[in-house]
């Protein structure tokens, strides 16, 4: 079988197998317990029933996730360069960056609400907090892990520090940056959903997927909850695919890992 075809068919096959098994488990449950695991068909029905609601919620969540994600990219790029300047700077700041990451979002959420109000602004800010750490850590690591021989070469030819940064360190850090970007893209929608559950607002149709999930749960609409979960997954996939495409465009010409796209 041709490679691209196989790469498309194999995951599709596992997906169908999984759905079959799911349906099997659903059918094996006694009638009074079937609500615990709605069948794939029921989830599909729930999705089409609440389609408008879910689509609007997806757009809202995507807004919060993208806003927080973009903010994280912008701030982490600058901060990583600062951190890469010296080990002392890293010693000063790293513990507190980690502390930020260690604080659970549900605890930060009410504080955020006090500061900037519930809704999109809080969601974006909380997403920023969670997406920011993997970006900073990876990019900083990339900036300081430059090949020593090349650094010495630049010093040998008396390159200035900014030339070293621009021509050597930043290009060499790109693969690390994109690794961080992928992690951030994966957790941004999750962060946004958790943020919506804790600091979301439905004012002016602003409710996102997290907000919707809380409502479905309170109404015991379990099939709709599954549909919400699937929608969140799709959002994550979309963001991930965008980042992968970006990484490929930026790196495939020279980085070994991207040399042959079918590997």
């Amino acid at each position: 079988m041709r490679r691209p075809l196989r790469r498309l068919l194999l995951p599709l096959a596992t997906g169908l197998l999984f759905l079959g098994a799911w349906q099997g488990v659903h059918l094996s449950l006694s009638d009074d317990l079937r609500f615990l695991l709605p069948s794939p068909g029921m989830v599909g029905d729930a999705w089409s029933e609440h389609r408008d609601l879910l689509l609007r919620a997806t757009v809202n969540t995507a807004q919060g996730a993208l806003l927080g994600f973009s903010l994280a990219v912008a701030v982490s790029a600058g901060l990583s360069i600062l951190l890469s300047l010296s080990a002392s700077v890293r010693s000063c700041l790293y513990p507190y960056l980690m502390a930020l990451q260690m604080t659970p979002l549900p605890i930060l959420a009410p504080i955020c609400v006090i500061w900037v109000g519930a809704g999109l602004r809080s969601v974006a800010l909380l997403t920023f907090v969670i997406a920011f750490f993997p970006l900073v850590v990876n990019t900083t690591q990339g900036l300081i892990a430059t090949d020593r021989n090349l650094v010495e070469l630049f010093q040998l030819y008396r390159a200035r520090r900014w030339q070293q940064l621009l021509l050597l360190r930043i290009p060499a850090a790109l693969p690390y940056f994109f690794t961080g970007l992928r992690i951030a893209a994966t957790i941004s929608p999750i962060g946004a959903v958790v943020a919506e559950m804790n600091a979301g607002s439905s004012a002016g149709d602003g409710g996102g997927l997290g907000f919707q999930a809380v409502i479905f749960a309170s109404q015991a609409k379990y099939a709709a909850l599954f549909a919400t979960a699937a929608t969140t997954c799709l959002l994550g996939f979309a963001l991930n695919a965008a980042v992968l495409g970006l990484a490929w465009a930026a790196l495939h010409a020279w980085h070994d890992a991207y040399e042959r796209s079918d590997r």
Partner: protein, 260 residues
């Protein structure tokens, strides 16, 4: 003509460890323009230390070093770095090319800094292209390092070493990462450069590589124990023809087998 390198009673003592290490113990040496020298010796013989001092990367503890008539002892750090840029070209064992950067841009790199900043981009490009022509890679100017073989990458690195028009080209184990056939290819480039009058000093472990040079210096325990001209010098072009003939012969026998 005055020698391009003149070293008198050079010593280097490293004080950093518990016991001071006397790496170079009194080396005197003159290198004339157009020479092609192999610096040999086991590890710990002091050849790398001597090479670092020749490259103005390290200062001697004692003794004098005159490069192109300039006593480096009288220079401060910046002046020394400038001198290094003007008079010396470097080739390394690991090529040290920038990955994301084409062959031509890699060769241009040394001209983007220091005294070249006032030179126009066109002139820089022209000069870099000329150096790629010298090493026979002008047709590959837009290739990235990962699209070039090991030997081609080292030739790009040699072109980069030439771009500042150095008085001396210093090469540290330039064939250390290459197989024997590719080593011949690279040594051929060095011989061609030397035939055009460029002074070359290279460090090597391998005796058969040293035989491509004109003069061999052997160091042991920080002193030069042998300094001699190479009697039966290996010529890269002849060696390459021998390898190709052997390969062709091997191919013929290989092709003959299935039929027989």
């Amino acid at each position: 003509m005055s020698p391009v390198v003149k070293i008198q009673d050079l010593h280097k003592i490293y004080e950093s460890g518990e016991v001071p290490v006397h790496a170079v113990r009194g080396v005197s040496l003159e290198i004339q323009r157009g020479e092609f020298i192999a610096l040999m010796g086991a590890s710990g013989s002091g050849k790398s230390t001597l090479m670092n001092m020749l490259g103005c990367l390290d200062r001697p503890t004692r003794g004098t070093y005159e490069l192109d008539g300039i006593n480096i002892d009288e220079l401060d750090r910046n002046e020394l770095a400038d001198l290094r840029n003007q008079k010396l070209g470097f080739v390394f064992q690991g090529f040290n090319l920038l990955a994301r950067t084409t062959a031509l841009e890699n060769v241009e790199l040394p001209m983007l800094y220091g005294r070249h900043r006032k030179v126009s981009m066109e002139k820089i490009r022209e000069r870099a292209m000329h150096c790629l022509e010298i090493v026979g890679l002008a047709n590959r100017f837009d290739h990235f390092p990962n699209q070039l073989s090991g030997g081609q990458q080292q030739r790009v690195a040699i072109a980069r070493g030439l771009v500042n028009e150095p008085q001396v080209l210093l090469a540290d184990e330039p064939t250390g990462n290459l197989d024997s056939k590719t080593s011949v290819e690279v040594m051929g480039v060095f011989q061609k450069l030397n035939d055009q009058g460029i002074t070359i000093v290279m460090v090597t472990h391998e005796l058969d590589i040293a035989k491509y040079c004109r003069r061999n210096l052997i160091l042991r325990d920080g002193v030069v124990v042998r300094d001699e001209l190479v009697a039966d010098r290996t010529i890269a072009e002849e060696e390459m023809q021998r390898i190709k003939a052997a390969e062709a012969a091997a191919k013929l026998t290989h092709q003959a087998k299935p039929g027989s």
